[in-house]
Subunit: 276 residues, 4 copies
């Protein structure tokens, strides 16, 4: 009898720990993805975690994706650090940045950046806004950001600089309304990256992994260019003459200079960010 | 019988391991917070861990918070590396740096920095003292530290430099008495950051998260400015013209240039520092 | 009876968790190493993980090894991020980059780099191709990469720069055929490292650990040289006069300047990469 | 019966996993410390792990400690990466670098550095030899390494540079005999740090934690100075006038400029290196 009781205690403890471990291993229950958007929201969660883990986003910054079923809507996390985003935190917006659910949680103040770019660029499916420290110096100096290696070939067509002071009547540094966001989208034009003076960058892609890839290699490129400038002398930047057209193995891309290598990098970025 | 004994051994080992794992998961029992200070001491512990994890503080440096119930008292860890601080390590001081409990453990030698600033600045609720490597170069050169992006807008009013050699009769580099601490507080004036020549910085905030946020974005800003200087040419620093008044969504702030975005960043800083 | 059922549930959960943990701990079943190649493929897997963990390779780049049994064949991972490579992902190629198994998974587009170097350099047993950010600036500037300390003595004979634009008729930056790969091998000559303009580097070794070691110390050296240049003034580079012949304790080496210290470093690189 | 067998399997698996976990948690059995040296060897193991974890040592470099019982002997790890050292790997040497146990495992080739400094400097109790990347640039340029902040005050008396080419008849860059080691000790003189051209540094301390502390703050100082130089303009280095004599709270120190703050930093360095 004493022995049986002993087992009861030991097994109870064991079962409790077991169940706790099992539960702890579960991620937050994903919200029901709007019909037809398949794994898009799951990818958006992973993208938030990747950009946080790769130090492209800190507690601030954001990534969004255009809806697959309604090109006039996009998805973005509520006002939350990207490293903490789960599927339950994703909100749906129209291109003016108005949430579909008016009773939802607080939205990111600069969500207008995303809507304005989706409006102006039908082929853009995902947008990143970042304050990455490697790129910030280039937003404050006259040295233009230029492509240093083939993974940043999307910079070959140029990197425009957005000056929010030129938006008439705007107060402060934040792109927090449609007027300033439309001005940013106009500055971006048909490019992949726009710098924002004293603020950061807006980066676009043809898909979530494409935008993530562009953001990550933009970061590498900025650090490489800073080091090259410090070495002194002339720098041999990539030019249009260095670019090959996309091959059949690559993802289709309508963005100038896009190389579309992300299918190989995405799994390791994801594994590192999600703890495999 | 042999089988029963086998189970007994297996289950005993299992239970011991289980209990050990459970116990190891517990954090140190927090000390009883002085009446009326609520979760303030818990936040101070988290702030110590965040500043250590974000490499703002190494084994040295410290953060304090003004008492909620007695504005002439403040709380700070005993002489301990910030990354190891628990609630049991927090001591209470008057503004002259005298510990309320004369029989407590050894105090930080530079606690006078904190008391002197609380004396001179009634609206300051939290103070950080750091030797962060990104900021140290600016304490030794003539290039002033200036704001590079909106998250460091608290630098717009200027960053004074404290020279301890100017404190008459003082020996050494440490601000280890009230005379030198009062001189530092006077140099700080109404600003958010004072550099300390050949030593580090003092950073203030309207709350613990505000001071932590200012310290972290000061670090980013210093690295960004260093890179911008290395790129050469003119630098476009933030000025008063770039600042918007705080909006209703933001935390109230009486510090010049404070943007008060910390409510979004604090949870991810905490999750990273505390292992979620 | 109730008790027995209870045990059944508790033990079932326990067993399931236990088995899950055990299975999760297993690495992917290594593919059968071709007869005579012993632990070579295991070392190649470890080398992939080390180069990823040490940030020599990101999601891209690759390492290969010459077959021990057929010097006209080499082994390399399929098109996969190095940090995810297991033994099951290793493919065998002839020196023209043709996979032995025509029905295998997709190959790396730049595998030709490896085959061409094995063709031109009989003593080379392992090749690394990397885009490491520390080295990239040196591929775009006129400042030559030079040896800063004894661990990078393999740079003493010089570091040639490959310009793919000089490969007649070639389009784009990728070394994705035998013509451009042969041109790269010719540029490399008898050296240990060739820089590739706007792209990265090819690094060779007398064994897998030797190539890994050369890649890692190349990275350190590039960062050290960048800092030395930024300090200004003349730099005292290593020259032939600084080199001692290999001692009996060292690995045999026919590469100029090779120091062969990797037997000491490999175990800690491996422990860090594989989680001990 | 079937049920009993099921339990047997489940419990056997559980017990095996449990025991494996328990065994994996044990560190290697420490070797018996020579009589009278107390916890010295344990501290030496921790110091190896700290210097590896803080990136002062990579797979190479080493730290030693003078014997407490025989000042003409010292302890140092066998030829092993510092991050893997356990107490079982520590060997005892006389000051000529001859191992007490002639049948022990292979020794570090540059152990002579340690013996020669212990011979020349009776007050030195611990020696570090490092190739830290932050310091390497200063071994190759004419810009002297100088103290930037109070934690590197041990640099105030100056940092001599050792040129191994001046050791008559010596071949190569390694300090691998007593002649070259004595020359290095002579260059070091009564200072705390000697730079070694194209190689690294030798750093001394009055105890293991003191030497570790000096190595770690030397690293910070080198990075800070590099950034300060890049900012341009005059730099205000620390001078003798900035130094206070050690206070009663500090460790006794006979090294010029030593501040002896390590008692506060050691526990966090240890916690990070040993996984708490």
């Amino acid at each position: 009898m004493r022995m049986k009781n002993y087992w009861r205690v030991a097994l109870t403890i064991g079962a409790v720990v077991t169940i706790t471990v099992v539960l702890a291993g579960q991620t937050a229950k994903p919200a029901q993805a709007p019909a037809g958007n398949g794994t898009l929201l799951d990818d958006l969660v992973v993208a938030n975690r990747i950009l946080s883990n790769e130090n492209i986003l800190d507690g601030l910054g954001h990534i969004s994706v255009r809806s697959l079923t309604n090109p006039n809507h996009f998805f973005q996390s509520r006002d939350l650090a990207p490293g903490l985003v789960t599927a339950a935190d994703i909100l749906e917006y129209d291109l003016d940045g108005t949430p579909v659910n008016p009773k939802g949680p607080a939205s990111v103040r600069e969500r207008f950046i995303h809507g304005a770019i989706y409006k102006a660029r039908p082929n853009v499916k995902s947008v990143v806004h970042s304050h990455m420290p490697s790129v910030l110096p280039f937003t404050d100096v006259t040295t233009p950001l230029r492509p240093m290696y083939h993974m940043a070939a999307f910079l070959v067509p140029g990197v425009p600089l957005f000056e929010i002071r030129n938006v008439q009547g705007h107060v402060g540094m934040l792109v927090d309304d449609n007027t300033s966001a439309d001005a940013l989208a106009k500055t971006l034009g048909d490019k992949t990256v726009a710098l924002m003076r004293g603020h950061g960058a807006a980066i676009v892609g043809l898909s979530i992994p494409d935008a993530v890839s562009n953001a990550i290699f933009l970061d590498v490129n900025a650090r490489v260019q800073s080091q090259a400038v410090a070495l002194g002398g002339n720098i041999h930047y990539l030019t249009q003459a260095d670019l090959a057209p996309p091959t059949p193995n690559q993802q289709p891309s309508a963005l100038p200079g896009s190389q579309g290598y992300y299918p190989r990098s995405w799994p390791i970025w994801k594994a590192k960010a999600m703890g495999k």
